[in-house]
Structure formats: structure tokens, C-alpha cells
């Protein structure tokens, strides 16, 4: 299990290859890669800053992954989330789940993303032509997280 919160970018191909190499019986890896959009709520986005709660972030992510590991048979999990200054098109987050069962890999990956979106202490502030603004939480993310209860 690899959980990292970092300012620097990450190498998706390298992360998935390492996950595959460490789980030779997994058969498959489901993953989600989140990116900084070029527009948000109709405004162009020039960039964003990702703030977090350092003492809590890792603990929150570990707890989410532990919940996933208790619900599904997983071989290994990678979660990498960036913080700090990001540009449009930049990678923000990678969640990758190796499992012997395709359906479990998909479910666990989506679960981790849904929980991360609603429980992990990250906050986005966007720079737009109209100035800076904090991104508002979405009701659709709350609804996605509630499905798993």
C-alpha cells in the first residue's frame, strides 16, 4: 500500500507498472486519474492552489483505504494526491487498485475516490479572470459517497 501527499508531479505509467510488478496474480488494475480542468463553472481557470491539513491528510487517506480493503479483496492500492500550486491539465490525484477480480478493483477504486472527495481534508482555490475563489463542494459528490453506506 502506497499513500503519498506531495507537491511534485507523479509518473502514472511508472506507478501502475510498480503496482503490477508487486501483485503478479492480480490480473488487473482499475485506476482513476484526476486532472485540473481548463474551465470551472463556466470560467477559465488560470491555475489553482491545493491546501490541506497536513497532520490529518495521510491518516484520512489511510482510513479510507482500510475501509476499502475491508469491503473488497484487494491485492494492493496506490493513492497519490498533490498539494500546492497546480496548472490546468496538471495531474491532481491517482488512485489505483490491483485485484484478482475486475469488479472488486473497479468498486474499490470508485469508493476510494468518492470518500476522498468528501472526507479527505483538501481544499481547492482557483484563479479565474474574475479573481480567486474557493471551489465549492458538490452535492453530487455527497450523493456518490452516500451510495456506499
Amino acid at each position: 500500500m502506497k499513500i503519498q501527499v506531495q507537491e511534485q508531479d507523479f509518473d502514472v505509467g511508472g506507478e501502475l507498472a510498480a503496482l503490477a510488478a508487486g501483485a503478479p496474480d492480480a490480473g488487473g488494475i482499475a485506476s482513476f486519474l484526476g486532472l485540473v480542468r481548463e474551465t470551472s463553472d463556466g470560467s477559465a481557470v488560470a491555475g489553482m492552489t491545493l491546501e490541506h491539513y497536513p497532520a490529518m491528510t495521510r491518516k484520512a487517506l489511510e482510513d479510507i483505504v482500510a475501509q476499502a480493503a475491508a469491503r473488497w479483496m484487494l491485492r494492493d492500492v496506490v493513492v497519490i494526491h498533490r498539494v500546492g500550486a497546480l496548472q490546468p491539465g496538471d495531474r491532481i490525484v491517482l488512485v489505483a487498485v490491483a485485484s484478482a477480480h475486475r469488479g472488486e478493483a473497479f468498486a474499490a477504486c470508485e469508493f476510494i475516490m468518492d470518500m476522498l472527495k468528501t472526507q479527505a481534508p483538501f481544499w481547492k482555490k482557483e484563479r479565474t479572470p474574475a479573481g480567486e475563489r474557493w471551489v465549492e463542494a458538490r452535492a453530487s459528490d455527497d450523493a456518490a459517497a452516500r451510495r456506499w453506506r
Binding site: Y53, M56, V93, T118, Q119, A120, P121, W123, W134
Partner: protein, 85 residues
């Protein structure tokens, strides 16, 4: 009892501080008592700690509720809904 308060994102900006130490009466309390005490400061505290604003609380880095217990030395973080991922 004393607790360490941390604020994040728009709350940090609007409260004008990232961190403070708060004295609460007695040797134990609930999160609700802490929130009430902060609300008595008036705006912007009343605005962001209103019942219709979805602020979140973590006690010692774990998500908590209004009934969660507090003790001396706890770290209490108050923040808006998260928007990572």
C-alpha cells in the same frame, strides 16, 4: 481546559488566523460548547458556524460531530466541506 484550534481554507482567511488557543470552562466539554463560544464573537464567526453553513470539525485529526467530547490539549480543526480529488 485549553484546546488548540486550527482553521482551513475560507475559514482561515475570513477568521484572519490559521490557529489559536482557546480556553473552555471546566475539565471537559463537547464540540457544541466550543462552537457556541466562538459564535458569541459575532461575524464572521456566526456566518461560518451557522447551522445552515456546512462547516466540518475534526478532533485530533478525526472527523467529529457536535456531540464529540473534548479534553484539555485536544487539537480541534474547523473547516469548510472538502474539495480535493
Amino acid at each position: 481546559m485549553k484546546v488548540k484550534l486550527l482553521y482551513f481554507a475560507v475559514l482561515r482567511e475570513r477568521f484572519g488566523t490559521a490557529e489559536e488557543t482557546l480556553e473552555l470552562p471546566g475539565e471537559q466539554a463537547r464540540v457544541a460548547a466550543l462552537i457556541d463560544q466562538l459564535r458569541r464573537r459575532g461575524d464572521p464567526w456566526t456566518e461560518f458556524l451557522a447551522t445552515d453553513y456546512p462547516y466540518r470539525v475534526a478532533v485530533n485529526q478525526q472527523l467529529a460531530g457536535l456531540v464529540s467530547p473534548l479534553k484539555d490539549g485536544d487539537e480541534v480543526a474547523i473547516f469548510p466541506p472538502v474539495t480535493g480529488g
